[in-house]
Symmetry: C2
Subunit: 206 residues, 2 copies
DNA sequence: TAGGCTACCAAACGCTGTTCAGGAAAGCAA
DNA sequence: TTGCTTTCCTGAACAGCGTTTGGTAGCCTA
């Protein structure tokens, strides 16, 4: 009676196909310019079919971002296994985060830069995105806690400290993604900005 | 022959009325939810009339953001005249920036958080916005240069340093605006995050 | 008073996300 | 094989969006 299983597989296959098409367009055109109709056309299905697999556009794009952010968490976990000194680990973690943002600019912005807003303009955030974000964040927090234990940085509330650090590297990542192209502003080279920022953030924690 | 003048005044008045209505809706509903049609309805004109005064929606919203950012520059100039010690001045400047973002969240996000993007997803930035941003930035740079001269922070390239600092406080501002409402993430109180971030950024510069 | 000029608007175009009634096909039971 | 049910998918529509265009009404000048 493998019929039900086959059906489930086929259904899953189409879901993946939608995600793949959306992901490609997403990468190509950016968040603002991906439309349900373009995705549908790419996979040669009717637009309404997409709604059989995803509640709405937000959920579809979110599912892609979650997949992408899972890669960030993988990188972080990998970094954990390289058993570096705490401070070195912290620096690598920050660089890893920034590089991730630069490698997946659209996904990064869709997740952190352009939150969904309701009619009142309040931020809406899904549980799923919250979870994956929390995972990344807890990596950061634990590294910071370790740096405090080892005495590499001064002791403080690891929660508040980690949030503050996250905000800073988010700012670096965000502006590197969105505003570096603009030639009217005399941006310094990315490398310099990253190096100095990472160094100064760590210095500030000592 | 005051007719032409009266006409010019009337034209200017309508332009301002459009801006005022847009600004109000903007504040109320956020960037995503302001539409030309809603603005038109609010001032009881046809949507197309708006296009006699603004090239497109982007230009209209930009003109509002520019006005708002002019206030930030005013605050910064005011701060200059209070003739504080360099380091104190730097701290106040940073706090001033963050508070500005929190007081005008939609304007802040529209200017820095949600840049216009073309079909390829590249950032488009207008000259006008670039100018006003450059003004704010040059304030920051000159304070930092002064702190270097006075020996309060270590000497380095003031351009790169200012950009790095800007990125960090942008990150703090941005995340305070967009993600604090989300209850699933255990955010620390805003005050704590601001205090620690500002203190650590300055510490990192020493 | 006639002509021109400006301000304005209604309607339309092509796009968007989303919903929904219905059809085709596949699976199952008799 | 026939009929029934379930599943998947679609075409058409709705309401909204930013923007353009053709045309009109009213004021200003001559």
């Amino acid at each position: 009676m493998g019929v039900a299983e086959r059906h489930a597989r086929e259904k899953e296959a189409l879901r993946s196909k939608i995600q793949a098409a959306a992901s490609e367009l997403f990468l190509e055109l950016g968040y603002q310019n991906v439309s349900i109709r373009k995705i549908a056309e790419k996979i040669e299905y009717a637009p309404s079919t997409i709604y059989l697999h995803f509640k709405d556009k937000q959920e579809l794009l979110e599912s892609i971002c979650i997949d992408t952010f899972a890669k960030l968490n993988e990188s972080m976990t990998e970094l954990d296994q390289r058993d570096l000194a705490p401070l070195e680990r912290l620096e690598q973690g920050m660089r890893c985060y920034i590089n991730f943002g630069l490698q997946h600019p659209h996904h990064y912005l869709a997740t952190f830069g352009i939150p969904a807003r309701d009619e009142q303009g309040k931020t809406i955030e899904s549980e799923a995105v919250g979870n994956i974000g929390l995972q990344s964040f807890s990596h950061l927090r634990s590294i910071i806690a370790r740096c405090m234990e080892s005495g590499d940085i001064r002791t403080a509330d690891s929660m508040v400290t980690a949030q503050s650090v996250w905000m800073m590297i988010h700012g670096v990542t965000d502006l590197l993604i969105t505003h570096t192209e603009y030639s009217g502003f005399p941006w310094a080279p990315k490398d310099q900005l990253v190096d100095l920022s990472v160094a100064n953030i760590i210095r500030g924690l000592k």
